[in-house]
């Protein structure tokens, strides 16, 4: 195992490093990491750089295998990994997308300021906790029959708005309008469907959450205005994904790809990177199934949005909650980008723990965002800050329109539980003005702020590298977790 050391890295600028092709004989392109000098030593603490160089061996990989500044060791790919592969002759890899397909973030803005609800926060937090199923193995209130589940898989968020859970106009504010057209429910196994049948409208556990936040700092007045954000404004952030359905789709196809790889003469250094040609029957079936998983996650966040609105209504606080944006950070997307020769070609952009961050002018963006770029939502760890950034023209040129996704863990769950008592953490956060509603004090301890890397450093790196620009910083005032 050739694990890169610091002397193998070439500094390109204050925010970008490269592992040249000469480092390993089996790589097809260099590997690049967005990172500052101050943070660089952390990346040698795990095997994330070895994983990054493995990405550079994928057939059809274009330009560079990349990692964002929240890089840490994952399965196959490091978290924070981005790889674009030629659609005509390259591969698709479920491990490069992740088990939680379309784990992602949605931000809602309200028409209220912090002062309007400060005295009602306890009531609001309790109402949200009561309305949104969260926690280990918790099923939702909506149990879907087969036919209805297939409609969710095929249509994503638009199925939910069609059922009255939100308005059709708000689909414009979701990445891909909350639906990938290539989804085909017949490509999803019965086993995956059984796992997902009663999980729509649920958060799950771990680092998934709903947070009531307030806008703490404005960094870009023009973009903030376009996004409808102002200082002290109350927002709601939702972080969750495709639940058991997505996990099973990934498991099913990694297993199938491992069996299929020999017939395509594909050999890779890590089983979790199992891949087949995108144009093959197996590749197409996975993409259709992955699209179903993505659609399920968007439908999930749409139903949770409805539950948030309902919870708010239960408190009697008049409010209008509108979607700022909804982004995925585990996804494979068919997009057009420039290759090494400057030709625009179709690619499958694999983002694992990385967020799409398209720049100004992008056709899919709602008109009010076209001048400033796509909102990029970066959740912080519990009790710390979250950010809204905007994609830039440079993002499109350098990273296939990709940016970071969050802070990343720096401490094991076991260590967090030994160092932090959940009930003491809850008391500490509440004393600092953050209401906590959590199903498990152990789970709360695992998600303690000290267990995560510094979100400000991660965001400042992408801002400094100009692969997304800071727009606003938000801080939590209420946290709902499983």
């Amino acid at each position: 195992m050739d694990v890169p050391k610091k002397e193998n890295l070439r500094k390109i600028n204050d925010y970008l490093w490269e592992i040249p092709k000469v480092f390993r004989s089996d790589v097809k392109v260099p590997a690049r990491i967005y990172m500052t000098e101050e943070m660089i030593d952390e990346i040698f603490e795990d095997r994330s750089l070895w994983q990054l160089t493995n990405l550079a061996t994928l057939p059809g990989v274009v330009k560079y295998a990349m990692a964002m500044p929240d890089i840490h060791e994952g399965y196959g790919s490091p978290i924070g990994g981005v790889v674009a592969v030629r659609a005509d002759e390259g591969i698709i890899s479920p491990g490069m997308i992740g088990y939680d397909i379309n784990c992602g973030v949605r931000l809602l803005r309200s028409d209220l300021d912090y002062g309007d609800i400060e005295n009602k926060l306890d009531e609001l937090a309790t109402s949200l906790y009561g309305q949104i199923p969260s926690g280990l193995g918790k099923g939702g209130r909506m149990k879907l029959e087969s036919e209805e589940l297939d409609k969710v898989l095929a249509n994503g968020a638009s199925y939910m708005t069609g059922r009255g859970f939100g308005e059709e106009e708000e689909l414009d504010f979701l990445e891909s309008r909350g639906k990938i057209d290539m989804a085909d429910p017949s490509s999803v196994s019965d086993r995956a469907k059984k796992r997902g049948r009663d999980q729509l409208g649920t958060l799950g556990s771990g680092n998934h959450f709903v947070e009531v936040q307030k806008v703490d700092e404005i960094h870009d007045e023009k973009a903030a205005e376009a996004f409808g954000l102002r200082k002290d404004q109350i927002c709601v952030m939702i972080h969750t994904g495709s639940r058991g359905l997505g996990h099973q789709i990934a498991t099913d196809h990694i297993r199938l790809f491992l069996k299929s790889m020999p017939k395509y003469n594909i050999v890779l250094p890590d089983r979790e990177l199992a891949a087949v040609p995108f144009k093959s029957d197996e590749g197409q079936k996975y993409f259709k199934a992955m699209s179903c998983g993505a659609n399920f996650a968007w439908a999930n966040r749409q139903l949770i949005t409805h539950q948030v609105r309902h919870a708010w209504k239960q408190t009697g606080i008049p409010v209008k909650l509108e979607i700022v944006y909804d982004v995925a950070h585990n996804m494979g997307k068919l997009e057009k980008h420039l290759d090494e020769e400057g030709n625009e070609i179709e690619m499958i952009v694999h983002r694992k723990g990385a967020t799409r961050a398209f720049g100004p002018g992008f056709a899919e963006l709602p008109d009010r965002y076209k001048d400033v770029g796509q909102p990029v939502l970066i959740p912080g760890s519990m009790g710390t800050a979250s950010y809204v950034l905007a994609g830039t023209t440079q993002t499109m040129e350098e990273t296939f329109g990709s940016s970071c996704h969050g802070a990343g863990r720096r401490m094991s769950r076991g260590q967090a539980k030994r160092e932090v008592r959940g009930d003491e953490l809850k008391k500490e956060l509440e004393e600092s003005g953050i209401r906590i509603r959590a199903g498990s004090m152990t789970g709360l301890a695992e998600e303690a702020p000290k267990a995560y890397k510094d979100i400000d450093s991660v965001v400042n790196t992408v801002h400094g590298a100009n692969i997304a620009k800071k727009v606003v910083r938000l801080v939590p005032v209420a946290v709902i977790k499983g």
């Binding site: 280990l136 799950g204 099973q248 297993r255």
Partner: protein
């Protein structure tokens, strides 16, 4: 009694190191380790559920991961934890067996998947050992 498994620390996931004098014993102990991860007191409870399981894989390492993956899937779907496996067949690429377990109200850990990450069965000290990484 020989150690069946141990839980290892890692930053973002759950790791089980399982031990066994043979591949069947190794697989049984890896199952026990995952059951412990799913529900801490499950190994002390009398089993009341039986489910058949059949898995076919490319090699022994993949067989273990695919077996545990299949168990996880059954577990999640049925709200059950399986603590015992009785093999009818356990070759290097095929498992035909019966699982035994218990119904549960809630899991202690939400396991997304059993990964192939570092799954490499080794001979150590006259027995077999493997580390399995669970994505949580």
């Amino acid at each position: 009694m020989d150690k069946r498994f141990e839980i290892l620390e890692h930053t973002a996931d759950f790791r089980i190191r399982a031990f066994g004098s043979s591949k069947e014993v190794l697989f049984k102990n890896a199952l026990a380790g995952m059951a412990h991860a799913q529900k801490k007191d499950s190994l002390n409870k009398k089993t009341t559920i039986r489910r058949p399981i059949f898995v076919e894989s490319i090699d022994l390492n993949a067989l273990l991961v695919d077996f545990l993956g299949e168990v996880l899937s059954l577990s999640d779907t049925n709200q059950e934890v399986y603590t015992v496996v009785e093999f009818k067949e356990c070759s290097d690429t095929i498992i035909d067996a019966e699982l035994k377990g218990i119904k549960i109200d809630q899991f202690d850990e939400d396991i997304k998947a059993v990964t192939y990450h570092g799954a490499d069965i080794k001979e150590v000290g006259g027995g077999l050992e493997v580390t399995i990484v669970l994505d949580i």
